[in-house]
């Protein structure tokens, strides 16, 4: 087994264990929300509707947080065990690609289970993707869409993880301040720029809404953005000097 494979094995093992542990909690919580509180809504006509939002949202949030927070630990540990930065970064990229595929399949399977459950509970179940793309989508296309979305989230988070490692506490402060401000500032900027840039159109292009086979366009868009973040993270990672995070000291 070469060292890249060893790194990949380590990354997959650590990430999968995390996914199973926290994933189980999220599934439990989201199942409760879906069943009792959140997405089961009554329409004016009296029909009951339910959507699948509550499944991929917690997974997305979990992936985003865990990838960003665990990056420094994995990076330092594998460096200490005599691995090159190139192999560490490649193994991270490969493992998050595999995890995105796995998560996409798991989420789709859970949705399928929920669909059966809701149908038996006499809800009119609506898969969020069928609703957005206004068509009955194939299983393959939805799994592909989820894979692209989770890849985008993982690689964006990996990119943020490399910045967090590089800039330490300063990055964390800037990130959370920017995050808080974005709720106020972004709508304002969008409203100001709306006369110059059509954001609605931009989002429609990004998500492929209104296009024939729009789900594939969205999948392609997500994958391109994910690849860009992955490449940037790779180059930051292979040039990075080892730093001991303050929490680890």
């Amino acid at each position: 087994m070469n060292r890249l494979t060893k790194c990949l094995k380590f990354e997959l093992k650590k990430s999968t264990m995390g996914m199973l542990y926290y994933g189980a909690i999220f599934i439990g919580i989201s199942a409760l929300i879906t069943l009792f509180i959140g997405t089961g809504v009554s329409s004016d006509s009296g029909d009951h509707y339910a959507s699948s939002m509550s499944f991929f949202m917690p997974f997305s949030i979990f992936l985003f947080i865990s990838v960003m927070l665990t990056y420094s630990y994995h990076y330092n540990y594998l460096l200490m065990l005599g691995n090159s930065r190139k192999n560490i970064m490649l193994s991270q990229i490969m493992s998050y690609t595999i995890i995105s595929i796995g998560t996409a399949i798991v989420v789709r399977l859970l949705e399928f289970g929920m669909e059966l459950l809701y149908t038996n509970l006499h809800y009119q179940y609506t898969n969020i993707l069928n609703f957005v793309y206004k068509t009955n989508l194939s299983l393959f296309s939805t799994i592909l869409w989820y894979f692209a979305l989770f890849s985008f989230i993982c690689f964006f988070s990996l990119f943020l993880g490399t910045l967090r490692y590089k800039f330490g506490r300063m990055f964390s402060r800037i990130f959370w301040v920017a995050f808080a401000l974005s709720w106020i500032v972004v709508p304002f900027i969008i409203s100001k720029l709306n006369s110059h840039i059509n954001f609605d159109l931009l989002l429609k292009h990004l998500f492929g809404i209104g296009y024939k086979n729009g789900i594939y366009l969205a999948t392609g868009n997500f994958l391109i953005i994910a690849a860009l973040f992955g490449i940037i993270a790779y180059f930051i990672g292979i040039k990075q000097e080892q730093i001991v995070p303050e929490k680890q000291q």
């Binding site: 060292r3 094995k9 330092n76 200490m80 005599g82 691995n83 090159s84 680890q248």
Partner: protein
């Protein structure tokens, strides 16, 4: 002469306005235990981090096992570096850490690791973040010794350990080294108690190499000379005196010069007391900011 394992030339590393390592050139041989000594901030950890590609040099070359060592997996797979700073994943159990390490080091001896865990009373089911500072050091010691890497590096391996455990470590290290010779570098501040395990001592001061010599030679290179002040002054005229202390009419001088048997006899005949200088004191004199290397 043994093979050269590490060869650096003109190694320089700067942080903002500080030169942590300055034109550092050194060669280390195989199958020796090296003690790496220097005051805080002298550049010891920087040197070790450069050797193991944790950080990058501004200039200079590093060859390990005859290959360019920077980011070379062929080299790094033969180097086990246990840094002073914590690079472990806090939630990992000790047994997981040992299993992972065994996967990355082909020469890792699992049975020996098991034996060491028992010897040092290290619980393998504890998570790393549940360990005391001393047991964190023991994890590093177990990994460093059991890896049996051709080049093993310990940065402050005995931090937080009590005297009895430190003694156990030195004994274990020596025994294992005799059975499985390899190159070991140990950076430490506990000089006096560890000096006897080193074959060679490397002293760094302000990022520069100021001495690399065998422990015996280092001990022989300096001596204390004490006696009546006027006799001491007369007898030591022309010697390289690096430190002087006076107590009443008695004067004690630390002299940096190897004595020939004839010189020793002359000094003793002059009614002067000649005694060896403890290694820790040698180190202090060597790294004294007022002393010119």
């Amino acid at each position: 002469m043994n093979d050269i394992v590490i060869k650096t030339s003109g190694l320089t590393k700067s942080y903002k306005h500080t030169k942590a390592l300055d034109d550092f050139t050194i060669s280390l041989e195989s199958n020796k235990i090296y003690g790496l000594l220097g005051r805080n901030g002298a550049g010891k950890t920087t040197f070790l981090n450069l050797l193991t590609s944790g950080i990058f040099a501004n200039s200079g070359n590093i060859e390990i096992f005859g290959e360019n060592a920077v980011e070379s997996e062929a080299v790094l797979s033969k180097v086990c570096y246990m840094p002073e700073k914590n690079m472990f994943m806090p939630k990992m159990k000790v047994k997981e850490i040992l299993a992972t390490t065994a996967e990355f080091y082909d020469s890792f001896d699992k049975d020996y690791a098991e034996k060491l865990c028992k010897k040092f009373s290290l619980s393998k089911n504890k998570r790393y973040n549940e360990l005391s500072r001393g047991y964190e050091s023991i994890v590093r010691i177990v990994i460093g010794l059991a890896s049996r890497s051709p080049l093993t590096i310990f940065d402050e391996p005995v931090l937080g350990l009590d005297a009895a455990v430190r003694e156990m470590f030195y004994k274990e290290l020596l025994e294992d080294f005799m059975e499985n010779p390899r190159t070991i570098i140990i950076s430490t501040h506990l000089i006096e108690e560890s000096a006897d395990i080193f074959n060679d001592i490397i002293i760094i001061k302000n990022g520069k190499l100021i001495s690399q010599t065998s422990t015996e030679e280092l001990k022989e290179s300096m001596f204390y000379c004490s006696g009546r002040a006027d006799i001491v002054d007369k007898a030591l005229s022309g010697y390289n005196i690096i430190h002087t202390e006076s107590v009443g009419s008695v004067k004690v001088c630390a002299v940096h010069q190897k004595l020939s048997p004839a010189e020793l006899k002359t000094l003793r005949d002059a009614n002067l007391d000649i005694s060896p200088i403890p290694v820790q004191k040698l180190f202090i004199y060597f790294t004294d900011n007022n002393m010119e290397a």
